[in-house]
C-alpha cells in the first residue's frame, strides 16, 4: 500500500505532519457592500453582488452570527467586501472569536491598538500606471505607508497581462517596505481591453512567477506547483471548472457527482442571511476563473490524488503550507 511515509523522507514527513491535522474550516464574509474604490474587474461590483442584500447594521447581530458560525465548525473567517476596514465594529465580532483574515485595499489603516495581530491582505493590481487604469489611483503609495514593516500584513498582488516583464519591480518595492507578497492572476470579469489572458501570456507569467520565487524567497509566499496549477488550469490531468471547484457554498451545491470540496464552506452576503454561489463572482465563467484561493483549495482537498509519487505529494505539501502561512496557521 502506498503510504505517506513510503513517499516522503523524514524532512518532508515532518513538514507533512505539521499541516496534516490542521483541519481548516474557512468561510467568507462580505462585511459591507460599500467600498472606497471602484476597481474595474472587481467581481463584487461587476456581478452586482453589492446589491444582492442589504447589509446588517446592528453590531450585536454580527456578534451572534459569528457565534453561530463557530457552532457549525468554522475556524477561519475570511473577510472581504466591499471594503471591510470601513466597518471595524463588524471586524471585531470575528476577531474576538476566530482566526480572522481581512482583505483590504489598504487605503484605511487597520487600528493596530484594537486589532494588534489581525492578518491583513492588501490588494495590489500592478504598477502605478495599471493601478490608475484599473482602480483610479496608485493605491500602493497609500497602503505601503500604512503598513510598512507590519508583521501581520502582506500584499496580495493580482497580476495582469500588462504586468508581464514588470513583476520584479513590484516585488522589489514590496520587499523594500518590509512586507511579503502572494501572487495571483486577474480574472478579467469586466472585459477591460488588454487584460484578458492569452495562452502564451499565461506561460510567460508562470516563468516570471517562478523566477520571483527563486529570486525573492524571503518575500514571495508561493510555490511553483501553485504557479503551474493557476496558469494551466489543470491538476492531475483534470481541468478546473464548475464540476471541480472546491469553493462552492455548501448548501447551494447541487452538483452530481459532488467533487472533493471545502467542508461546510459558505460565502455570506453582508445581510448575514443571503449566500453567494461561491468564493468569487456568481457571473464568472468557471473555466476561465483564476481565483488563487480556489485553486489552492482545489489542490488541498485532493490530497490522495497527489499520492501518486513523492514529487506529487511534496507539491501538495508546498501548496498546503502556502495556504497555512497566508492564513497564519503556521509561521512564515
Amino acid at each position: 500500500m502506498k503510504t505517506v511515509s513510503s513517499l516522503l523522507d523524514s524532512h518532508w514527513h515532518d513538514r507533512y505532519r505539521r499541516i496534516s491535522r490542521l483541519n481548516i474550516r474557512s468561510s467568507i464574509y462580505d462585511v459591507t457592500d460599500r467600498c472606497n474604490l471602484r476597481c474595474k474587474g472587481c467581481f463584487f461590483f461587476s456581478s452586482n453582488e453589492h446589491q444582492a442584500a442589504s447589509e446588517e447594521k446592528d453590531v450585536p447581530r454580527w456578534h451572534a452570527f459569528v457565534e453561530s458560525e463557530m457552532a457549525r465548525g468554522v475556524n477561519l473567517a475570511i473577510l472581504i467586501g466591499g471594503e471591510p476596514t470601513l466597518c471595524p465594529d463588524r471586524i471585531e465580532a470575528f476577531y474576538r472569536r476566530l482566526p480572522t483574515f481581512c482583505a483590504t485595499n489598504g487605503i484605511v489603516k487597520v487600528d493596530r491598538s484594537r486589532f494588534p495581530d489581525l492578518m491583513v491582505g492588501i490588494s495590489l493590481w500592478g504598477d502605478a500606471a495599471d493601478e490608475i487604469v484599473l482602480r483610479g489611483k496608485d493605491t500602493f503609495a497609500i497602503s505601503s505607508a500604512n503598513y510598512a514593516g507590519d508583521p501581520n500584513a502582506y500584499y496580495l498582488y493580482t497580476i495582469t497581462p500588462k504586468q508581464l516583464g514588470k513583476i520584479e519591480n513590484n516585488i522589489r518595492r514590496i520587499k523594500d517596505v518590509g512586507l511579503k507578497v502572494h501572487m495571483q492572476l486577474l480574472s478579467n470579469d469586466e472585459g477591460v481591453d488588454g487584460f484578458s489572458w492569452r495562452p502564451d501570456e499565461l506561460a510567460a507569467v508562470r516563468a516570471e512567477m517562478d523566477q520571483m520565487l527563486d529570486s525573492y524567497p524571503e518575500t514571495v509566499v508561493s510555490s511553483k506547483y501553485y504557479h503551474r496549477i493557476i496558469t494551466t488550469g489543470t491538476m492531475c490531468g483534470r481541468a478546473f471548472g464548475w464540476m471541480e471547484c472546491p469553493s462552492v457554498t455548501d448548501p447551494l451545491d447541487k452538483r452530481d457527482p459532488r467533487p472533493k470540496r471545502l467542508a461546510n464552506f459558505i460565502r455570506w452576503a453582508s445581510d448575514l442571511k443571503t449566500m453567494h454561489r461561491c468564493c468569487t463572482s456568481e457571473t464568472r465563467d468557471c473555466s476561465t476563473c483564476k481565483d488563487g484561493a480556489a485553486h489552492m483549495s482545489w489542490v488541498m482537498v485532493n490530497k490522495r490524488a497527489h499520492m501518486a509519487s513523492s514529487e506529487s505529494l511534496q507539491n501538495w505539501i508546498e501548496v498546503y503550507e502556502m495556504f497555512a502561512k497566508l492564513y497564519r496557521f503556521i509561521p512564515w
Binding site: T3, R21, A263, K303
Partner: protein
Amino acid sequence: MTSDLERTTRRIAEIIIDELKLEDVTPDTFDADLDLVDEVGIDSMDLATIALVIRDEFGIRIDEDDYPKLTTLRIIGEYIADKRSDGE
C-alpha cells in the same frame, strides 16, 4: 474464531477502500493500526464521507468533534463497538 471487533474492523476497511477508491490495498492487507491521516493520507472530508456510510450501516452517529480521535481502523472499530453498547 473471528471476533465482532475484527469483523467490524474488516468491514470498515472495505468501506474505506470502496469510498476512497484505494487501489493498492485489500481488506486482508489493510493494517488495522495504520494511521489513516499520517499514513493513508485521508482528510476530514474523507472521514465525513466514511462517517455517513458507517451511520447508515451500523446505525450510529459519529460526532464531528470525534474525527480527530479516529486515527486507525481498530480505533474506529472500537468506537463503533462502544457506541453500540451504549445503545445508540
